[in-house]
Symmetry: C2
Subunit: 190 residues, 2 copies
């Protein structure tokens, strides 16, 4: 396999082709979103769930664009025939949208995405009121949405976070079940 | 004056140096923010005011970074000695943070910033419930916050918007009064 078909090469190619915004303005806008939730909701877990829900719907949209654009690249999209295969797809898709390439630590029926940088938390000082929640939960929601489109129902949760003093940001992705292609719609008619 | 001291050259230089995020993810995240406000508040004008308030605090932060970085450029920062001068500063600062360079139409004690593209509204379909509000109000708030830091108290409002079918996005900036440097803090002690 030539190097221009590797996930890292594909990830950088797709990232370079994407239209760009200012990373600081993006982080400030995300901060405004979290701040709005902090005003509206008292329970940190409720805020985290809301960020997860938003991330899920963003992830569904992002993975579709990844599939459309990656299929045009040299090497195309690696076939996803197992849960473990999805880690490569996610690496590329997350780099494409977050600009950060995660490392992957693979275990049995789960894997961990390790980010050494966090684009959502540039310039962020976490307010007191945000203790007890995961500020970056949007990204975990994105991961869950992306994998759902690839027909894998997973739990995705942060197990390390630089904002809480950890060295890296880590999302643990655990397989719940493999979904059937188009299952949702068809089953409702029975 | 050589061309590398022109506002357009400075604007492009600063924009190119800024760390980047994915423009689509930025627009989707802004959409999630507006969506959250739509759920929480019934009155479109209340939502618009909230976006304006957020934009103001983001604008205060952005103009400070613009001043710090632009002062290091060849040509430095053009002296701002009148309200009309602020238009050049805003052109550069808005390009630096939004990636879009506005045209300026200058009138007596007001000017209009004309954007031919809108980075906040990429990929956006305005929901029914968002009728009667200015989706992009964050940018008008940013303009207000930026000018306040430059000691000009202004009104900044959208007078044209592509999301409402107009050909361009236009923000009309009207001078209310010139502020005194550091006036706020000192006056409170008297």
């Amino acid at each position: 396999m030539s190097s221009n078909k590797s996930p890292v090469f594909q990830a950088n190619t797709l990232w370079n082709k994407q239209p760009k915004a200012n990373a600081e303005l993006f982080a400030l806008t995300y901060g405004a979103l979290v701040g709005e939730l902090l005003v509206d909701m008292e329970d940190p877990l409720q805020i985290q769930n809301e960020l997860d829900r938003m991330g899920h719907s963003i992830g569904v949209r992002c993975i579709e664009e990844y599939l459309a654009k990656a299929s045009l690249l040299d090497g195309g999209i690696k076939n996803v025939t197992s849960f473990a295969d999805t880690a490569d797809s996610l690496k590329v898709a997350l780099k494409m949208f977050l600009g950060v390439l995660p490392d992957v630590s693979m275990q049995q029926s789960k894997y961990t995405l390790i980010f050494h940088e966090n684009p959502l938390a540039l310039f962020v000082e976490l307010p007191e009121s945000a203790q007890g929640m995961e500020y970056n939960q949007l990204v975990a929601g994105m991961v869950r949405g992306m994998l759902e489109q690839l027909q894998y129902d997973v739990d995705a949760k942060f197990t390390a976070s630089q904002l809480n003093g950890d060295e890296t940001n880590e999302i643990e992705v655990t397989l719940n079940q493999v979904l059937q292609e188009g299952a949702g719609e068809d089953y409702q008619e029975e």
